[in-house]
């Protein structure tokens, strides 16, 4: 019996190793080199052998573990896990508040980027996670927000804090504009039209040169101020450094921007969490579950959908305005489909409708990808041994591969996203 299982496992592992051989022989085993007579090929049989053996052993270890039953999988996280989960959100918040104290510009910049995506994820979560309307063109609202701020600042000299609500309102209007034609569509059809909408906005931005300067973009977008204090390098009286009588440094502005996006993201989170517990929020979730039943209960499906589009778009607009002020330069290049796809992946990976899940997914997808890159570069620099030198130098090139693999693993292990538990919006109190 046991020997039978052993042979089965060995055969399975051997098969995996064979597939690995076929896959990695050309990927790793062949290296192109600039030789004397032009481009030459160098074989690396040893590196391939190492990878194949690793796959063989890995598969064996995987098979030797007791198979998990379907029931165990459906049970979900245990009590300890859940308790840890409850502590996770406050811990993340404290970490986020304290992060700039580390003083590393690299990490503050990275965290700002992550927070931008968290905010976008939370905004899209309203549309996709709560209302169940699959939106593949979310980047359009991000673009509308960014361009609203940039153009208002350019034409009227308005500051960031004046334009922020305006950018949100503009994006919300864009959301309603998109909402009207797609009211009757569901599922795949809705997704296609929203995808098209995202592209339309981008192409309009490229071609409406007189307004948007076309592909060359808009430069010199003003930075935000802290109660009127600018973060400029001259250290004059009206600046942050001048007011507090300290040496002007770039890190001050970077840190300020970080706290701005942190505050924006937290407001988004607070608003969404509150909204979810209102009749409107419940109607969104009901709409996701069954549109026909909603109608039979007297819910105005049209208005409910439009508010979901508008509010989701509004948060996208806020994030866009922040993006514009942070970069000080925007062009249509920043608003391609891949951005929509990334934000949607964050929402799906995190768990539809889960705020914490979206935050975790954004940290992993945006922050993790970047950290992986720097880690692999670090490995490449420090793995001095001849054995791996060849592979190590290429390690950073494999980051997308590792990343894609991680996505697949998460989706296999937790098909409903990292955080798939749903908290009821209301419970029946004591009689």
């Amino acid at each position: 019996m046991i020997t039978g299982r052993m042979t089965g496992a060995l055969r399975d592992a051997g098969l995996s190793a064979l597939i690995a051989l076929g896959l990695f022989a050309p990927l790793i085993g062949l290296l192109t080199e600039n030789g004397e007579h032009g481009l030459g090929l160098r074989g690396r049989p040893f590196a391939v052998a190492v990878v194949v053996v690793l796959v063989f052993l890995g598969r064996l270890i995987m098979l030797s573990r007791a198979p998990r039953t379907v029931a165990a999988r459906a049970e979900g996280p245990g009590l300890a896990m859940r308790r840890a989960g409850r502590a996770l959100a406050p811990a993340l918040l404290v970490f986020a508040l304290l992060l700039p104290l580390g003083g590393s510009r690299y990490y503050v910049d990275l965290a700002t980027l992550v927070l931008t995506y968290i905010m976008l994820g939370w905004g899209l979560n309203v549309v996709v996670g709560l209302a169940g309307l699959l939106d593949l063109g979310y980047v359009a609202f991000y673009a509308v927000g960014a361009y609203s701020y940039a153009l208002l600042a350019e034409a009227f000299g308005l500051g960031f804090w004046t334009c922020l609500p305006l950018a949100g309102i503009m994006a919300a209007f864009a959301g309603i504009l998109l909402g009207f034609p797609v009211l009757r569509l569901r599922g795949d059809y809705l997704a296609i039209v929203t995808l098209a909408f995202g592209e339309i906005i981008r192409i309009v931005l490229i071609n409406w040169v007189s307004l948007t300067h076309g592909p060359s973009g808009i430069t010199g977008i003003p930075r935000p101020t802290l109660f009127g204090l600018a973060f400029s390098m001259d250290g004059g009286a009206g600046t942050f450094a001048g007011f507090f009588d300290i040496e002007p440094e770039t890190i001050q502005r970077v840190t300020f921007l970080y706290y701005v996006i942190l505050a924006l993201a937290l407001v988004t989170n607070w608003f969404t969490l509150r909204l979810r517990r209102t009749p409107l929020g419940r109607a969104w979730e009901a709409l996701r579950e069954d549109e026909t039943a909603c109608r039979s209960l007297g819910i105005n499906v049209t208005n409910t959908k439009l508010t979901a589009f508008a509010i989701g778009a509004m948060f996208g607009g806020f994030a866009g305005a922040f993006f514009a002020t942070r970069q000080a330069f925007i062009s249509p290049e920043s608003f391609t489909f891949i951005e929509s796809a990334t934000v949607l992946a964050i929402v799906v990976l995190g768990g539809l409708g889960s705020q914490l899940g979206v935050a975790l997914a954004a940290i992993v997808m945006v922050g993790g990808l970047e950290l992986l890159r720097s880690f692999l570069s670090f490995l490449a620099e420090n793995l001095g041994s001849d054995l791996f030198a060849g592979i190590a130098n290429e390690l950073p090139l494999y980051r997308m591969l590792v990343f894609g693999l991680a996505l697949v693993v998460v989706m296999v292990l937790r098909p409903r996203g990292m955080v798939s538990t749903r908290v009821p919006t209301v419970t029946l109190g004591p009689a």
Binding site: L275, T278, L280, R282, A286, E289, S296, L297, G429
Partner: protein, 266 residues
Amino acid sequence: MLAAAGLTMRFGGLTAVADLSFEARAGEITAVIGPNGAGKTTVFNCITGFYKPSEGRIALTHPNGARFALDRMQGHRIASRARVARTFQNIRLFAGMTVLENLLVAQHNALMGASGFSLLAVLGTGRYRAAEAQGREKARHWLDRIGLIDRADAPAGELPYGAQRRLEVARAMCIDPVMLCLDEPAAGLNPRETDVLNNLLLGIRDDGCSLLLIEHDMGVVMRISDHIVVLDHGKKIADGSPAEIRADPAVIAAYLGEGDEDGVAA
């Protein structure tokens, strides 16, 4: 209460309902019966605004005298203004939401008004909290009546089939309807569950809500109906009290079938 006159519904070349006129009286349970494909659900969809009738009128008169032309109203207004609630042949609960949430979604319009279109609710004002507490009380009342008070915070999709049927009725009742339309409420229920449902429906009628019922289970129809309309091929072939319908030769020929034991005997 509800009067349909000359109701006709055509889908392309197919006439599902032809020149149907009937009346459902206030405070009664009116059953619509007929063989499969007779057009019962089509009639329901016309009344509740899911279809626009090709011809004919459907008029609803509230007990307070307000009149509504259902054939000309938008779908969701029929529920929110004319107060006609319905259930579905295939249960349509919000399966991922809890039992209590299902009942609160049904009170959407009342709560929306109290919450200033949810803006006040986001800010957490006392007025909304009071309204929501009231909504919870109404839900609690219905949970008591359908015997699901212990499952209030469980996802609706996890309830047993019979409980889901009852919950759908309770959810429809949470919009405070003057008329409740039930599309085969007893389908798939065991005899004990059917009895519970019968009592629930009779209780709803005694509270003053009129019921319109599509049902295949003749036991249910004969026991609780005050009035029966029989359809066949989109036309009305009989209309009367259960006793009259049982004796009507046209009905027996078209639908009940001669010597059909579980039919007339009940």
